[in-house]
């Protein structure tokens, strides 16, 4: 076993400044993960040249791969840093912020665009008023199985980071929001605005911007069947496509 671990970190001091690489060497701890390495650097922010530097900034919350906050590009591939185990990673470990979002500082990015996409597709259950609407519709087990899987999305950004069609310069909604529109279009109450969600998906930046590269489904840490969701929403907008031409 090695005594130390080397990390190459792509850093950026502010939203507008240029990025630069900095190397850190820290003591090796068995079964540690990338976040614990970052914590070590935070406790003793000295780079490999022995210079004292500002601690590396990153985001994290749950530390168990359910919140999505700690997502970054590790050895060239996007993943949650809390569940990226040092023992399983090739060394030296390279850490970069996600490239599809504006960098706030170092490894912390602003994923506002993803949450904006959820707002655009109205990824919520619509209920009007406060009066008692009675019990909701019963859902079948098969329905639950599909919906539960889709509901595991943590808006982490892996899918859009890996997507060749999603870039800083366009406004593609991305696979996560498309998949969430499927979840809410199948919900017994939320489906009352299903058509509005389809309208959003049929605008610029909508589902037509997907190029079927299928990287999203490979990159999703929650194994959400994203290409199935894209195909399902493709089917729903196809229906609307013909309805618009022949019935609207």
């Amino acid at each position: 076993m090695p005594d130390t671990v080397t990390l190459k970190i792509k850093r950026q001091d502010s939203e507008t400044s240029d990025s630069y690489w900095e190397t850190f060497t820290i003591p090796y701890i068995p079964r540690s993960n990338v976040i614990s390495c970052l914590m070590d650097i935070q406790a003793n922010p000295v780079n490999a040249k022995g210079e004292e530097v500002t601690p590396v900034v990153w985001e994290s919350n749950c530390l168990e791969e359910v919140c999505g906050a700690c997502t970054m590009v590790i050895n060239g591939k996007v993943h949650q840093s809390c569940s990226a185990l040092v023992d399983q990673l090739e060394k030296p470990i390279s850490l970069e912020p996600m490239s599809k979002f504006p960098v706030v500082r170092d490894l912390a990015v602003d994923r506002a665009r993803m949450f904006g996409a959820l707002k655009k597709v109205q990824a919520w259950v619509t209920a009007d008023g406060y009066h008692d609407l009675g019990p909701g519709e019963r859902e079948s087990t098969s329905h639950q199985e599909v919906a539960y899987k889709l509901s595991e999305c943590m808006t982490c950004g892996c899918c859009v980071e890996a997507c060749p069609q999603y870039s800083l310069s366009n406004n593609f909604l991305g696979a996560a929001a498309i998949s969430q529109s499927r979840l809410f279009n199948m919900h017994p109450t939320a489906k009352n605005i299903a058509d509005e969600r389809l309208d959003t998906l049929m605008q610029k930046g909508g589902i037509a911007d997907c190029g079927n590269a299928q990287n999203c489904v490979e990159a999703c840490p929650k194994s959400i069947p994203l290409t199935e969701s894209i195909a399902e929403m493709g089917r729903q907008v196809s229906g609307k496509f013909w309805r618009n031409i022949f019935q609207a």
Binding site: P164, N244, I245
Partner: protein
């Protein structure tokens, strides 16, 4: 765009859907028909020439060709090139589908170059030279030309296989775009189907080319 509004749709969505549709009908179907026709290369010069020329007997042939093939193809190619410029290159994600995604784009450019060369070589060139009608002789002499024959053959080989790949793989993604194949299982079925289609069309066009090789 007026046309899109008239269809109650966002023009961006509409153009993408027309792009997808034109790839299959009519351009894809024409490709299959066109490759089928080439099997007549094995039936000798007269039969082959007749089978090609009989299409042009109709006074509407040229119009049909322009409306059914050239305009949709031009639209598909034009938007296709535009789409290629919109993608991000991400080589660290080495998945098979991602490879196909890039092969679809590269073969698209290759097919465009091939079609330009092919239309010049087989259609416009003979027309302007006044030798239109003797297709078999024109093709086989081009292939057996001691100086440029090898280049012509290579261009045809890669052009045809590229077009077949682009069509077969495009049919695969077409089924995702339109939501025809939903589940991962059905997407695998469609993938197997498009691989078979690729093999069958490749074999058929290689067999056709062998007649004049």
């Amino acid at each position: 765009m007026f046309f899109a509004e008239w269809c109650f749709m966002d023009s961006h969505f509409l153009t993408r859907r027309i792009h997808s549709l034109t790839g299959v009908v009519p351009v894809g179907l024409f490709l299959v028909y066109h490759l089928y026709l080439q099997l007549y290369l094995h039936s000798g010069a007269e039969t082959y020439n007749n089978s090609v020329n009989s299409f042009y007997d109709s006074p509407l042939a040229i119009w049909a060709l322009v409306i059914v093939v050239y305009i949709p193809l031009f639209f598909h190619a034009f938007l296709g090139i535009h789409l290629i410029f919109e993608t991000t290159v991400q080589p660290s994600y080495t998945y098979f589908s991602h490879l196909l995604y890039w092969l679809q784009r590269i073969s698209g450019i290759g097919v465009l170059l091939f079609i330009i060369a092919h239309v010049w070589n087989a259609q416009l060139g003979p027309w302007m030279a006044g030798t239109w009608g003797t297709h078999f002789e024109h093709l086989s002499s081009g292939f057996s030309n001691p100086e440029s024959g090898m280049i012509t053959k290579t261009v045809y080989l890669f052009g045809v296989l590229g077009a077949v790949f682009h069509f077969a793989n495009g049919l695969n993604t077409f089924c995702m775009t339109w939501g025809i194949a939903l589940t991962p299982k059905s997407q695998i079925r469609i993938r197997i189907f498009s691989i078979l289609l690729f093999l069958i069309l490749s074999a058929s066009s290689l067999y056709a080319l062998a007649a004049i090789w």
